[in-house]
Symmetry: C3
């Protein structure tokens, strides 16, 4: 077992919170800017061990920055991001699942392969990497459960790094392993980086196939937002080349795919498959803003890494989970069998690494929303959006 993180530079203070390789688990832990000799910005980073119900044994890491964001993530749940908040704004949503469920209490195979729903309440869940998407049973009778295992895998290594020089970048690094004898040795080095005082954070994940055999992989960054961003007449904006409904039901929502309904009983969900336009370098952006256009969130990503974008409109009642997902991925959310058939299934060769970088921006005022709208409009330019009436597949 070797240390899987590269050495930090001198100016960087590094704290290993968890290490399977070195048998470390710090438990409750906290550090503040003062302890690091930094005085021109306030922040703290803490790890909290959770108790009670199905969150017994779960842990949270919370970056608190009074002049920026409070970002909460869970090492126990695949380094998923629980939420990011600032005064007046929240990236996240209210699931009927309130606890940070320890994967030891979840049977992903239950509920016909949708046991994943018993823990789903994050702002961002990694849906991958061995597989993602809707559950299916292959011809041998093997059940592939909804959205794979990464989001319910505890991190093997967790490191907090803080740059002691301006702008004091904070990195939370994790190692998520999907390794099974005879099957896979996929490992993901996850990284969330945040500059104190800012209203953005970046995910930078590196997926490596440590096996001697190539392996298919899938990843959907299932990014979810509810109130106060989501509301009646809130709007989803992105430079869209093609959009199609995920299924027949979503076809009914094609006319209004960009706007959201109020919390609506019996709405359930409509899902749309999107192929975005991009800048020349492949970079693109999708965003959500409220009706008044003074609060929002944008996600920057690159289609060379994440070519497909799933838009999930779950504008059912608030208690049911009033939420929309903006989900860049290597694929759409169909079962892996369909993704393979339709040639969206990627393969990672032995020893190779692929990277995924996403930037989440909390848009706190009218100006921030306006700039985002302009940027998206610029990428779209005068290019048309092709609206396909027919779902890409029938599950």
């Amino acid at each position: 077992m070797t240390l899987e993180f590269s050495l930090s530079q001198n100016q960087t203070k590094s704290f290993t919170l968890t290490s399977a390789a070195h048998n470390i688990e710090l438990g409750n832990w906290e550090i503040s800017n003062h302890q690091l000799g930094i005085e021109d910005v306030l922040f703290s980073i803490q790890q909290i061990c959770l108790h009670g119900g199905k969150q017994e044994g779960s842990r949270l890491i919370i970056i608190k920055c009074p002049d920026g964001l409070t970002i909460t993530l869970s090492p126990t749940r695949g380094m998923n991001v629980i939420e990011a908040t600032a005064p007046g704004i929240r990236l996240g949503w209210d699931s009927p699942v309130k606890e940070i469920v320890n994967p030891t209490f979840i049977n992903l195979q239950s509920r016909n392969g949708t046991g994943w729903l018993e823990g789903f309440n994050e702002m961002m869940v990694r849906c991958g990497y061995e597989w993602s998407g809707h559950p299916f049973t292959d011809t041998n009778g093997e059940l592939y459960s909804l959205h794979g295992k990464a989001g319910n895998t505890p991190a093997s290594e967790v490191i907090v790094e803080i740059d002691t020089l301006f702008p004091y970048e904070i990195k939370i690094k994790g190692l998520i392993k999907e390794n099974t004898f005879k099957k896979t040795d996929l490992r993901v080095l996850t990284e969330l980086s945040y500059i104190p005082g800012s209203h953005s954070f970046t995910l930078h994940d590196r997926l490596t196939n440590h096996a001697d055999y190539s392996h298919p992989y899938q990843i959907i960054y299932h990014s979810n937002f509810g109130k106060p961003l989501l509301e009646k007449d809130a709007k989803f904006i992105a430079p869209v080349k093609e959009i199609s409904p995920f299924n027949n039901y979503a076809q009914n929502g094609l006319d209004n795919w960009q706007t959201y309904r109020e919390p609506t009983k019996d709405f359930d969900e409509m899902v749309f498959n999107i192929i975005p336009y991009t800048k020349k370098d492949g970079s693109t952006m999708a965003a959500l803003h409220n009706k008044s256009e003074n609060k929002g969130v944008s996600i920057e990503f690159n289609t060379k890494q994440l070519p497909f974008l799933t838009l999930w409109k779950n504008t059912d009642t608030e208690k049911q989970g009033y939420v929309t997902g903006i989900e860049p991925g290597t694929n759409f959310a169909y079962p892996m069998t369909i993704e393979r058939e339709q040639d969206r299934l990627k393969k990672l060769h032995a020893g190779k690494t692929v990277e995924f970088k996403l930037r989440y921006n909390a848009l706190l005022d009218r100006q921030a929303v306006e700039i985002t709208k302009k940027e998206i409009t610029n990428i779209q330019g005068n290019q048309e959006t092709q609206i396909n009436q027919k779902p890409l597949a029938q599950e």
Copy 2:
């Protein structure tokens, strides 16, 4: 996350042992009457964290009252009651499963949906609430496991309340959540109350549907008794309106449905469906007493809440589990599909609460058994018991 218990009155001392909402877990903990300034009755309440084998991480709460009962329940296992004992009597039984199995070690879906049997050893298990009864696979291929999930769900909140005024009522409250995105948000506030010195205790559960949609629910209070109550010629008594065998095998036991056999190899189990007679207010009672009629147990319940009663006679060998179940429920133990067909499946509307109250009485002497027999005879009056030869359904 809000505090889900109402404030206690001043005279009540309240101790939060576990709280997911407030991240509390007291671990090993104990309080005695002396510490509460109570001197006219002896009792202690303790929480114990368990270790070893599959009970690693389980917890017990034990109410010890030398002049009354010792009651043991498990917050880790759905606030189930493990046993209640007094000198010479025991409400409970001896399962081949000896440990208090932490649900993290149980796969309810295993064994064709009977993984529940790997942890079953309680005097009272809550079989519900999303579903209960025998396992079945629905038309979509979804496996509903034996007796649902509540009994294998760790309590999210656990509070001990002690009234400091006579008669010093002790309440152990728990919160069991069955909440899954897109599926359910059922929450049960469980309450076990006990008056020190008495030989009875009460369960008072409040099931609330916190979702915006109505949801079917089922609950069977699977209450189980072995030696010394159960023995050859021990007797089950209840005011019975209708009784039918659960299946063809039980049909053979209809002639002797009220009496028990000695531990009998290859007997396995006979189950009977009972519709009880009640008082005008719906209250009724079922009881078990030994051959000498000087030891027993009675359960009081109300058919407005729990209209059906399952009698489970598992008089196989002692090592196999010599036990009988007296099981008031909203339904019989057939798979939910059959319960729905036969119109015994209840529905809980959005925001609504239903209550279930059961009183368990340890009958310590001839007089207590005699009083119970009279009470049951009074309810039966001169009304007939209809014995149906045919099972209600074939699984």
Copy 3:
């Protein structure tokens, strides 16, 4: 709950590390020869609680003897032996699974009943006892997962015993329970014994059927070795009466069944069914040695207890798991249905105990290998090896 171990003699120091019956878990713990007043041999025994990833909550027991072996076993994983090492030699192998996976993170039913592969990295896993072998679904639809449950069952009792008189035998005893209401009450008292300074250790397991009914049982001692013993032209030696390929693919390897290939891409695995010759008392031996014949391992066992021997040649690439299994068992690795059909399924009557004893010898030099070869040659004598071309069964 009774103490399931007999009292030790006075000269033996006994330490209970874990006890479900007595609610003991010592956690991190260590003892050395000095603390026991032993000065003529160096050793220490420690228990370590593991952290991080899927080994959170797992424990290891390590016997360290600088003049002999370092033996590592895991109480959390069925008292399995992780590895045994001495300078220049290692009994064990490198699985892509690096962590000592806590069974709470494993769903044996997943991956079509091969979830076991997510934790498999031991030198010796107990594959049993309720069933073992390849997964299958019975006619009722019940899935029996790969190699049973024992290897993923945490020990209920763990005792370390050290004889304070020469030769200071160390025993690590465990209790593994497979008890399920209505199904089984199988309990295994496991025992690993080691004499400090030696290069051998012994397993002595006692399986008792505590139920009132007889029950089939299966056990394969899945013993696995990689580098430096396994290499191109390493050799498997045993006195072989009959050998047959496990399946059609292995048939292609029958010509070279005794020698090993270098790590070979796309080789996957070849498995062979062996019936060994024995001495008059049933004792026999199988061994593996490297090409130079100066390193090896031998396993002594008795065919009265373990009549069948599975040879597993998994000479795929190193990262995939370059490993061979030498697996004495009550049966071959076919699904239990086939083992029953072909009359290799044993039955354990109520109250009865069967014992399994295996001795593992690390062969550190040419002389040790030479002696082992001679012993095996002696058992074979001039008796022929019958090579059957046809697999015993088609899965």
